[in-house]
Amino acid sequence: MAEYAANGEMPEVLFWVGCAGSFDQRAQRITRAFTQILDKVGVKFAILGKEEMCTGDPARRAGNEFLFQMMAYNNINTLNAYGIKKVVTICPHCFNVFKNEYPRLGGNYEVMHHTTFLQQLINEGKVVLKDGGAFKGKKITYHDSCYLGRGNGIYEAPREVLQAFDTELVEMKRCRSNGMCCGAGGAQMFKEEEQGTTRINFDRAEQALETGATIIAANCPFCTTMLTDGVKNKEKEDSVKVLDIAEMVAMSL
């Protein structure tokens, strides 16, 4: 972004990578897949790079409001200084903070989750999947992340992207507004689960496997990690893949 600003230019959209997308090796693949699509379509985008900071979401959900407000203050200052208007992100937690929580603190941006962004690119004909996509004839199930689904009511856009593939989309028993959490939200990603009879991600992955799908499509880097672990727990990692929708699209260009 600093380079755009130095040249006195504005990108079409700021790509907010998020911490997982930046540092987590598995999630970096989602980041690269998404930027590959943006490059292919010719979307002029920027990233904040080293100036990007955690939105503060895990701190806020854990109860550390002070830390959240600090991060929010800094991020909003950075974004406002660049005059950012439009943001796209691959993380539903960042998306939720941008859409619902930063406006109250002076950060007003048009924000999109990457699945909605991809759906628009497909609808506009800018993204065309080669031969019906890389998953011809396979069964796909889709996992609603809490903060895209229940949190913000986005259930259809990711499904529309998946329908562009020449595949069969099967729903889990718990889907859409009744979808079940992967177990990572509320800062659980950063701590051991409380004592119980099983792990949430094991349960959720089992529900996904019950559909008989060989691809579990996700829209969140944390869900992707949790579900991958869940699939491994059932020793199904050779036959069933957990992929972000951006990866699926990138593989089909």
Partner: protein, 437 residues
């Protein structure tokens, strides 16, 4: 005789209404112990929510079978209450079925219709009792319901069965008396349901039948007066509070957490000291998050009174489903129990006297709070717009910001966010290293 009955009726009615009103005032006071929160915005949307969610029971229909049974019981309850108007007027004036001569055939139709509803309510309540006690539906048989909550649920259902039976017996006895041509019993056309029950009274004398009819009438109305005064102690209070609770439901997206303006300002003044107002010596620092019910919003407390312990929240909670201690329903039950405890404390002492207890720790444990993934399944599931997550979040804030009570891993995460701008210990310089991957 009639005059005695009339006087007795009026006395009972006055006592019932007086005690109920007194209790309502007390509940209102308890709810207002919560922090102030302005929810008077967007009235159109709020009325719409009330009609759709409370009156229309929109969310109930996610589970069609209980929803249908519930609709029958609810519709029956509301519509049969129209008959209460006549019972009331009869009770005060000493008349018998005052509307019968006025409405003629329509009267018999209406009562017949009420009887069909009464029979359906009766049936519905029996099925509900079977679901609870024989089929043992999972969400209705969890440990947090042991003791009073379970008895409360059964008592409500049994009361409804008894009230409906009395209503039908009363009408059947009435019809039998009409057939005998008893004085004072206005002739009507046979009612749809009770006309099939008159057989059990065949051969009885008019005096016996009057006894049965009067006893049923009295037990029915006294039952209703008692039930009215039972409501404030029961989970059944939702029949009333579902309406205001849906009206005051959260209108912003479920994903949005409650902002803490005081901390937002704290950070602002720290970063831009010129914006800070002059320090006032007498300013008492607010409590961060919630430790006790007084720290919650009044809407959280209204939520607690509105909860009918149906357990839709808990049965969709991923933490609970995987054996963790957290149960959103228990969060609501605990909040109500603590609020009522504080209420009793105020009744006894005139104002709240510190009892050394609090909602956090005393009722809700750290382990429960730590298990929440903030997935909002509980919020989504609640048919009457209760938000258990909002309470969980406020208690979590108190744990972190006032008690510094966090698991070690969270403290590490906080440290990383603060120092490395990411929840993991990576160098901020590597934030864009993925480009080279």
């Amino acid at each position: 005789m009639h005059i005695a009955q009339q006087i007795l009726f009026i006395i009972c009615a006055v006592i019932a209404v007086y005690f109920f009103a007194k209790k309502v005032k007390e509940m209102r006071r308890n709810v207002l112990l919560g922090r102030d929160e302005d929810l008077s915005d967007n009235k159109d949307q709020r009325w719409r929510n009330m009609v759709l969610l409370a009156l229309g029971q929109k969310k109930m229909f996610k589970k069609p079978i209980p929803a249908l049974l519930h609709l029958v019981v609810y519709a029956g309850f509301i519509i049969i209450n129209i008959e209460m108007l006549e019972i009331f007027i009869d009770g005060v004036t000493g008349a018998h079925r005052i509307f019968a001569p006025v409405l003629g055939g329509l009267y018999s139709f209406l009562i017949g219709f009420f009887e069909v509803l009464a029979a359906l309510v009766l049936l519905g309540c029996v099925v509900f009792l079977i679901r609870r006690n024989v089929l043992k539906v999972g969400r209705l048989n969890m440990p947090e319901l042991n003791g009073w909550p379970r008895n409360d649920a059964n008592l409500i259902l049994i009361t409804e069965v008894v009230l409906m039976s009395l209503f039908l017996i009363m009408n059947a006895a009435d019809l039998s008396l009409q057939q005998l041509g008893a004085e004072h019993y206005t002739a009507t056309e046979p009612f749809w349901v009770s006309s099939h029950l008159t057989g059990m009274f065949s051969g009885m004398s008019a005096a016996t039948l009057v006894g049965i009819e009067r006893t049923s009438w009295w037990l029915h109305i006294l039952g209703i007066f008692l039930f009215l005064n039972y409501l404030p102690y029961s989970k059944h209070l939702h029949v009333i509070l579902a309406f205001p609770n849906a009206f005051y439901a959260k209108l912003v997206p479920q994903g949005e957490a409650r902002n803490m303006k005081e901390i937002q300002n704290e950070v602002l003044y720290m970063m831009e000291p010129d914006k800070a107002p002059a320090a006032t010596a007498d300013a008492t620092p607010p409590r961060f998050g919630a430790k006790d019910i007084m720290d919650l919003s009044w809407k959280n407390l209204l939520d607690a009174y509105s909860c009918t312990e149906c357990g839709r929240c808990t049965s969709s909670c991923p933490a609970n489903l995987t054996g963790k201690k957290l149960s959103p329903r228990k969060i609501m039950m605990d909040t109500r129990d603590r609020m009522e405890e504080v209420g009793r404390n105020i009744n006894e002492n005139g104002e709240f006297k510190d009892d050394g207890k609090s909602l956090l720790h005393g009722y809700i444990s750290v382990e429960e709070l730590r298990a929440c993934t903030t997935c909002q399944a509980c919020v989504e599931a609640c048919p009457v717009s209760i938000d258990p997550l909002d309470i969980i979040m406020q208690l979590r804030r108190n744990l972190i910001m006032e008690e510094s009570n966090a698991p070690g891993e969270w403290n590490l995460m906080f440290g990383n966010v603060e120092n490395n701008m990411a929840p993991w210990k990576f160098s901020p310089d590597d934030r864009d290293a993925w480009i080279n991957g």
